[in-house]
Chain length 208, copies 2
C-alpha cells in the first residue's frame, strides 16, 4: 500500500463530513478530496456511498451494542434471581451510559455521536433504515426490560415513550452540530452533563 490505508482515511473523513453536513449534503468528491484519495476509491473499496455509511455504522455500533446487550442481560438476570423488578433508571442507563464510555474512549468518536443523532431523524428513509437495522435488536430488548420495570404500563405505551426518548436523544447527540435550538442558551455544558440531564429527563418521563 502506498499511504497509511486509503480505506481507513475514507472511513475517518466520511464519518466527520457525514456528521457535520449530513449524508446527502456530502458528496463523494468532498470526501475524497479532503481525504487526499482518488474519487473512484470509495466505489472500489466500499461499493457505493450507502455501503460506506453502513461501514461507518458497523465500526462503532458493533462494540457499542455488545456492551449494551451484556449490561441489559445482567440486569435481567439479577432481576430474575432476586425476584424483584428491575428499576427504570437502571434499565435506561444500560442504554445511555455505554454511549458516554464510547465518547471517552476515543476523541474522534465525537463525530460519530453527531452522526447517530442525525441518523435517528434523517428525512431520508434509506439513511434511517441503514441505522435502525443495526440497533433494532437492542431496542426490542430495551422495550422488554422496560415492560418488566413498568408492569402496569402497556407495551405500546412503553414503546411510544421510548420513541419520545430517542427523539430527545437525537437532539442531544447533535449538540454542537445543529447547535441548541435556543441560541444563546444552554451552551456551556459538557456533553457529559447534557447526557446526564437527558437521562434524568427520560427516566422521569418513563416513570411518570
Amino acid at each position: 500500500m502506498s499511504e497509511p490505508d486509503t480505506k481507513a482515511k475514507i472511513l475517518k473523513t466520511a464519518e466527520e463530513l457525514f456528521a457535520i453536513d449530513g449524508f446527502h449534503h456530502t458528496s463523494l468528491r468532498k470526501i475524497t478530496t479532503k481525504a487526499g484519495v482518488n474519487l473512484a476509491a470509495v466505489n472500489y473499496h466500499f461499493g457505493s456511498k450507502e455501503s460506506l455509511l453502513g461501514a461507518i455504522f458497523d465500526r462503532h455500533l458493533g462494540p457499542l451494542n455488545e456492551i449494551r446487550i451484556k449490561r441489559m442481560e445482567a440486569v435481567a438476570a439479577l432481576a430474575e434471581k432476586s425476584g424483584e423488578r428491575p428499576g427504570v433508571e437502571e434499565v435506561l442507563r444500560c442504554f445511555t451510559e455505554p454511549t458516554l464510555a464510547l465518547l471517552h474512549s476515543d476523541a474522534s468518536t465525537g463525530y460519530f455521536r453527531m452522526l447517530v443523532g442525525r441518523s435517528l431523524s434523517d428525512p431520508d428513509p434509506t439513511v434511517r433504515q441503514l441505522f435502525l437495522q443495526r440497533v433494532r435488536d437492542v431496542l426490542e430488548l430495551l422495550v422488554d426490560l422496560l415492560c418488566q420495570a413498568l408492569p402496569h404500563r402497556s407495551r405500546e405505551s412503553v414503546a411510544w415513550k421510548l420513541q419520545f426518548s430517542l427523539g430527545a436523544m437525537s437532539q442531544t447527540l447533535t449538540f454542537q452540530n445543529h447547535g441548541p435550538i435556543l441560541g444563546s442558551l444552554a451552551k456551556d455544558k459538557s456533553i457529559d452533563d447534557v447526557i446526564e440531564m437527558l437521562t434524568e429527563f427520560i427516566v422521569k418521563g418513563m416513570e411518570g
Copy 2:
C-alpha cells in the same frame, strides 16, 4: 387566471411532498408535475424553492403562534395577579394544545404536522433556520414562563430540557411518516392520544 390559482395548488402540493419525502428529496419537477402546473411557475410565484418552503411555514405558523402567545400571556397575567407561580403543565400545554386544535381545524394540516416534525431536526441548516426563525420568539417566551414555573432551576437547565422536549415532539409529529422506530409496536393510536402521552412525558421530564 386560468385554473383555480396556480399559486395555491403549488403550496398545497409542495406541503404534502415536503412532508412525506423531505425538502431536499422533493424536486420542483415532482411538485409541478403533481400539481399540474408548469415547472417555471414556482420561481415565478415564489422566487425560489426556499421561499416556497418559507411561504408554507408562514401560512400555518402565523396563526398558530398567535394563539400560543395569547395563551401564554394569559397564563403569565393570571400568575402575576394571583401572586402564585404558573404550573409546568399549564405552561407546556399553551404550546402543545394549539397544535391539536390546528390539526382538527383542517384535515390537510396533517401534512404540515409532519413537515414541522421534519424541520425540527433536518440535517440541512437552511431548512432548520427557515423554520426556527419563525418560532424563536414563542420558544423564548416559553422558556421565560417555564423558568417562572421552576424557580429553583437554572435557565440553561430549563432550555436544555425544552430542547429534549422538542426532540421528542419531532419524533411524534413525524408519526406515520417516519413510522415508529419500533416496527410493529405503537401503531394503533390516534395522533390525539400520542400527543397526550407526549405532553405527560415532557411535563414529568421538566418537573423531575
